[in-house]
């Protein structure tokens, strides 16, 4: 090693020590002494302006407004659903958060892993099914919205062919397809649905391709169970109609968009955070529908839908809310023609939660 090299390396080392020392010396831990409860969120994507994470962030902001200075909120966005999620969730727990919402299904095991280590911190996992003393789960009965759009689609289709873009063949999505088809075929027995599985929640390119394929196959209405506005925009371009998902997509496709099924988390988040503030939080399993406000329909598009149909849709919403209409009211048959829900009864939550079959009339197979 030359003298020059030694000199420079030692200067670098010295600089590192000085800078490091400065940081260590000034490293005062910022523990806040107020009673303010800290609420943390883990997001799968950036909040952006539409879709799943956007709606969770809207819920967070609503909660902040409702509860004011008794809480403060933080979020970590774009957390991948892999080994990184544990660290992100743990960081929230470790930095003094009292309640942590993990807002995607695939954070399930990671949430439980961290929850085990921090028994005093409360966790809420969206759309999961594993609970412990400090882990709650919550989800919304999105299928109720699918009943409403199924009704509209059954009345609006002229080709009697509806294109359905589905994400993954999991109970949640299959339940949505069934609820949609049951409502659509009730008002229009000739209706057919064509399903394309895109195996993604968020991929504008794939979703648009799927929409175009369905339109080419004669679909005049596009339904999506994915997260972007690409299908709705593809419908707009092709001059057919569409329903949005998760958030109101009207701005992205004003001439195709009939309505969207919105996820509204604000009330739930407020209630859960309030329970933390008041010290009476307990582990629960919540599955809220239209009656709780968790599922909401976006304003119906008056340019496309007749006043009469809008009134019907609104009446349907009301009857779902008061319980007089159930999305899965018997008689319901499966594809083999077996009666699965008897006349006069409705599918119970167990059947809905594990729903892995199509109802009679859907000409397709659940991918196995």
């Amino acid at each position: 090693m030359t003298k020059q090299l030694k000199l420079i390396l030692s200067l670098v080392l010295l600089a590192v020590i000085i800078v490091g020392g400065y940081f260590v010396a000034t490293n005062k831990s910022g523990v806040e002494s107020s009673d303010e409860k800290k609420i943390g969120f883990i997001y799968i994507g950036p909040p952006g302006d539409h879709g799943w994470t956007y709606m969770h962030d809207q819920g967070r902001q609503f909660m902040e407004k409702e509860l004011g200075s008794s809480i403060s909120t933080t979020y970590i966005e774009g957390v991948p659903e892999n080994a990184d999620a544990v660290r992100a969730i743990r960081k929230l727990a470790e930095s003094g958060h009292d309640l942590i919402f993990t807002t995607s299904f695939n954070y399930m095991d990671q949430t439980l892993e961290v929850a085990k280590e921090f028994p005093d911190v409360k966790f809420e996992h969206a759309t999961g099914f594993k609970r412990t003393d400090n882990v709650s789960t919550y989800a919304a009965r999105f299928y109720e919205g699918r009943t409403v759009i199924g009704h509209i689609a059954g009345k609006m289709t002229k080709s009697n062919t509806i294109g359905y873009i589905a994400s993954f063949p999991i109970p949640e999505v299959i339940r949505g397809i069934n609820a949609f088809y049951l409502a659509a075929s009730k008002v229009n027995p000739d209706v057919k649905i064509k399903i394309i599985w895109v195996y993604t929640w968020y991929d504008p390119g794939k979703e648009a391709d799927a929409a175009n394929t369905l339109i080419n196959q004669g679909a005049d209405i596009i339904v999506q169970h994915t997260d972007t506005f690409a299908p709705c925009q593809a419908a707009e371009k092709a001059g057919v109609l569409a329903f949005g998902q998760a958030s109101n997509q009207e701005d992205f496709c004003p001439n195709a968009h009939m309505t969207s099924i919105e996820d509204v988390w604000g009330d739930y988040y407020t209630a859960r955070a309030k329970a933390i503030v008041e010290g009476n939080w307990t582990s629960t399993d919540t599955w809220g529908g239209m009656d709780t406000g968790m599922v909401k329909m976006s304003p119906y598009n008056e340019k496309i839908l007749s006043a009469e149909l809008i009134a019907e849709a609104k009446a349907l919403e009301e009857s779902i809310k008061d319980g007089s209409t159930h999305s899965f009211a018997g008689p319901i048959y499966n594809q083999a023609g077996e009666l699965v829900v008897a006349e006069g009864s409705v599918a119970d939550d167990g059947m809905l939660a594990g729903m892995m079959f199509y109802v009679q009339g859907i000409e397709d197979q659940v991918p196995q």
Partner: protein
């Protein structure tokens, strides 16, 4: 006007110092960016680079993140030294995870100390096989490996997609696109209780030491270096060019594959589509930042790993968007390329009549 002229002989010292300058320039410009965003630059840098590793858990997380980066990067150095631009390590990592993970799923209910070694070996073989496709294409058809390696990376990811959605899906998993969990015997042992740093770190350190040995003490390493510096000289010396190409690909593939199985049998424990946050691509930065040298790669992997952790802390404490971490990675690479240019070339101000 300014012209860029070669320095002729470039300084060995500056070659080593350039990455350090690049890091300091990154910190400096990072501070400026923070200042423009309205944050106190010192506080922001502290949260970005100090607070993530201010406790044992943070240090362990740094190692968890740096382990695959260092392992892939040192594997890539075998290719890059030989002027082979294999940029598809992500695919080789994925193949390693598929091969090794496949063993783990097959024996999920078997309890034996043999399972983990079998998984690791299968992972290495998977990665090496995937990379040897590239080697054969290059040897037989003289294809451009920059294109083929990238294309095969996406194919590997799609194969993983297919497996977790289709035949390997967890039968009890409500059709969610993931496999069942490996048994306890299929998991990397944890090094310290309560921390996630795992045995993969030891494997990585052993392979790093081995790579150093191969480079500096063996004929094979010498041949790799010579054929990288001067293909003509290598041919004149009678080195087997095809053998060198093939082994460079196979080694880098095997290392990436082992990194892949380390990730799934370490912190993850099962297979699904999103196993790697682009380790295979980020390792390219690590490799060049570390000057293709095992010791340099260790430091580089720690620094790049820190940019990930820092981005999370910056979000948490300052609500700075997640993308800032990528901005820092980009800055490091940018300044590294910039300082490299100045190491090998000098700027000359040409006067009009000069």
């Amino acid at each position: 006007m300014i012209s860029i002229v070669p320095r002729g002989s470039s300084s060995q010292l500056m070659f080593i110092l350039a990455p350090i300058f690049a890091i300091f320039l990154t910190l400096f410009f990072g501070a400026i960016i923070f200042a423009f965003m309205g944050y106190s630059p010192f506080a922001a840098l502290k949260i970005f680079f100090i607070s993530p590793i201010s406790n044992a858990y943070g240090l362990s997380e740094l190692l968890v993140k740096a382990t695959p980066l260092a392992l892939i990067a040192v594997g890539l150095s075998f290719c890059f030294k030989n002027n082979i631009y294999n940029i598809g390590a992500e695919g080789q990592l994925t193949m390693g995870a598929i091969f090794g993970g496949g063993v783990g799923i097959l024996f999920y209910d078997v309890n034996s100390f043999l399972i983990l070694p079998m998984m690791i070996i299968a992972g290495g073989i998977g990665g090496a096989l995937w990379a040897s496709i590239l080697a054969l294409l290059k040897i037989k058809f003289n294809t451009n490996e920059i294109l083929t390696s990238l294309m095969l990376a996406y194919i590997a990811l799609l194969i993983l997609d297919y497996l977790v959605v289709g035949p390997w899906r967890d039968p009890d998993g409500f059709n969610f696109p993931k496999t069942r969990s490996f048994g306890e015997s299929g998991r990397m042992p944890i090094l310290f209780d309560g921390l996630r740093v795992h045995f993969g770190l030891i494997i990585t350190l052993i392979l790093l030491a081995l790579s150093w040995f191969v480079y500096s003490k063996t004929m094979f390493g010498y041949q790799l270096k010579v054929s990288g510096y001067s293909p003509k000289a290598a041919r004149f010396a009678g080195f087997n060019k095809n053998f060198l190409i093939f082994s460079a690909f196979a080694i880098s593939g095997a290392f990436a594959g082992i990194a892949g199985i380390g990730e799934v049998s370490g912190p993850i424990g099962l297979l699904y589509r999103d196993i790697s946050p682009n380790y295979g691509f980020t390792a390219i930065i690590v490799c060049f930042l570390g000057r293709l040298h095992p010791v340099g790669i260790i430091f580089a992997s720690l620094i790049i790993a820190l940019t990930y952790l820092g981005a999370e802390d910056a979000q948490l404490f300052l609500q700075i968007p997640a993308s800032v971490g990528f901005v820092f990675q980009g800055l490091v690479l940018f300044f590294l390329l910039g300082t490299d240019l100045l190491v090998n070339f000098k700027l000359r101000l040409n006067t009009l009549n000069g």
